[in-house]
């Protein structure tokens, strides 16, 4: 069995879990009368999300097999990124240095999907940043996987 099968299983499982949140989004949209504007970027953003989650799962899976402290590290890093990334707050609240947000990998990825839904206009730098982060993640994951694939069975 190829290792990617296990990664795909985890990805699909998490996607299904994520799909359970769709009703919440619908209710919120109804309450606040948000009308999503259709754009071609929506499916593209979804595809990029799925691809990235596959890559991130693979990367963390390799690291997690080797190092036991990876899950807590991931959990605490996510916690920090959750507050740093404009999820609960809007980027417009920042008076200066909004461009620094592009250094947060989650921000461009979040923006490419959120802006079409809320009808905002996406900044010019967002898509290149999202693609650059994804490419970086892919290269890193692929390099690590190519190097460590033969060793994986010895770690678990």
């Amino acid at each position: 069995m190829p290792y990617s099968l296990h990664v795909l299983r985890a990805t699909v499982r998490n996607l299904l879990t994520l799909a359970h949140n769709i009703p919440v989004v619908l209710v919120v949209f109804l309450l606040f009368r948000v009308v999503p504007t259709w754009s071609w970027t929506m499916p593209a953003a979804c595809a990029l999300w799925i691809f990235d989650s596959f890559m991130a799962t693979l990367l963390l899976g390799i690291l997690g097999a080797r190092f036991r402290d990876v899950p807590p590290i991931v959990a605490s890093t996510l916690q920090i990124l959750f507050f740093v990334t404009p999820i609960l707050w809007a980027p417009e609240l920042m008076k200066t240095g909004q461009n620094w947000l592009l250094l947060d990998p989650f921000f461009p990825l979040l923006e490419i999907l959120r802006t079409p839904f809320t009808g905002d206009i996406v900044q010019a730098a967002i898509w290149p940043a999202a693609l650059a982060w994804s490419a970086g993640l892919t290269v890193l994951t692929f390099a690590l996987f190519a190097r460590m694939r033969a060793r994986l069975a010895y770690w678990v």
């Binding site: 080797r66 190092f67 036991r68 402290d69 990876v70 590290i73 694939r149 069975a153 010895y154 770690w155």
Partner: protein, 379 residues
């Protein structure tokens, strides 16, 4: 072409413990620079070293050795679970493994769903999956439990189901670990019967076991592993005798006496024509068998047997006990030594399913080719 080639196989396990399992400490050590460790500073267990062998269709390899000798590791390396640290492992053919009882079982699915899952994994058609389902249902005898999730099963039920499932799909190369011989007595008997069918249909068998009698029965070649290295590689008998440190007892000598022979092996009738075998073997007489009657030796009758296949005009001799089967091809007159076991390719090449009458794999005399019963020469 089914085959296994192992060249200079080396497998070693790094032992990670304590700090080596922590990303934080590993990073800190590599960044601080002053208290670095040597890259090689880790405990490594050498599981296998310099293991080389080649298996061809018809080979039945047994692995013997004490605990920790590397038997299971070698099986896992053959199955492709461990990639070799050094050397190479090349396996051609469809592999079936009986290594782990719960392999490929999803505890949350029902027994029936697990059967389907395995069938789909093996790439079977829906019809084939259904027949596997019936087969496993009959073997495991779980009744209505088959429709309940596997996690509600007792451990014995799980073993019955997984064993039935693992042995339901016929592979070319069968890898087997010793736990398959465990279980309670009545199950073991049924299991053994089922295994024998599977073993006889596989082209290559690699088996790891402690049981000398199973080795003697099923294998025609043994490798004795010690401390991860091949200590001895040879025929079943010579390796087993060296391993056990005593000669093998001659199995069931009395059964080979003429009065215990099956009725097919009788003094030749007058009308029979002698076939003169090469290399000074005694002349053999043959007579046509009733149509469709298979020629078989039950397990207990390890007699010198000969079959003559008019289709291929070849004479096959069998020398007891568990020696090789020699095939004499009159056209080339070069004797080839073949495994005693059922040779699927031989019959498949002739468009014959090769069902065999005996309940032992080596009692394989396909009814379609062995149209001649062969008899001992009159004393």
């Amino acid at each position: 072409m089914v085959g296994i080639t192992v060249r200079d196989l080396e497998i070693s396990f790094p032992l990670y413990h304590g700090n080596a399992r922590s990303l934080k400490k590993t990073l800190r050590n590599s960044l601080s620079g002053r208290f670095t460790h040597d890259e090689r500073d880790r405990v490594v267990v050498q599981a296998l070293r310099d293991v080389s062998f080649t298996l061809n269709p018809g080979d039945r390899l047994g692995l013997v050795g004490g605990n920790g000798a590397g038997k299971t590791t070698l099986l896992r390396a053959l199955a492709g679970i461990y990639e070799p640290v050094g050397g190479s492992v090349t396996v051609t053919g469809h592999i079936g493994t009986l290594l782990d009882p719960s392999l490929g079982m999803n505890m949350e699915l029902t027994g029936r769903e697990n059967i389907r899952l395995r069938g789909m994994f093996a790439g079977l058609s829906p019809a084939a999956i259904r027949s596997v389902e019936d087969d496993v249902e009959a073997f495991a005898g779980l009744g209505s439990f088959l429709d309940l999730p596997v996690q509600t099963y007792s451990s014995g039920m799980t073993v019955r189901l997984s064993f039935g499932l693992a042995t339901a799909i016929m592979p070319d190369v069968l890898l087997m670990d010793e736990w398959f011989m465990a279980g309670d007595a009545s199950f073991r008997q049924r299991a053994r019967k089922r295994l024998e069918t599977l073993v006889s249909k596989a082209d290559i068998l690699v088996l790891s076991s402690h049981m000398a009698d199973i080795m003697a029965d099923w294998c025609n070649r043994l490798i004795w592993l010690e401390n991860g290295q091949i200590r001895m590689d040879g025929s079943t008998r010579e390796v087993l005798e060296a391993y056990l440190g005593r000669p093998l007892e001659e199995p069931e000598k009395d059964a080979a006496s003429p009065d215990a022979l099956p009725d097919l092996i009788q003094p030749a009738p007058d009308a029979a024509e002698p076939i003169i075998l090469p290399e000074g073997l005694p002349p053999i007489f043959c007579r046509a068998l009733p149509a469709g009657r298979a020629f078989s030796f039950p397990h207990s009758h390890r007699v010198s047997g000969v079959t003559y296949c008019p289709a291929s005009r070849r004479i096959e001799t069998i020398r007891p006990p568990h020696a090789e089967r020699s095939i004499y091809d009159p056209t080339t007159s070069a004797p080839q030594t073949k495994s005693l076991f059922y040779n699927r390719q031989y019959h498949a090449a002739r468009g014959c399913h090769g069902g065999h009458g005996g309940h032992r794999p080596d009692g394989c005399f396909c009814g379609r080719h062995a149209q001649y019963g062969l008899y001992r020469a009159p004393e």
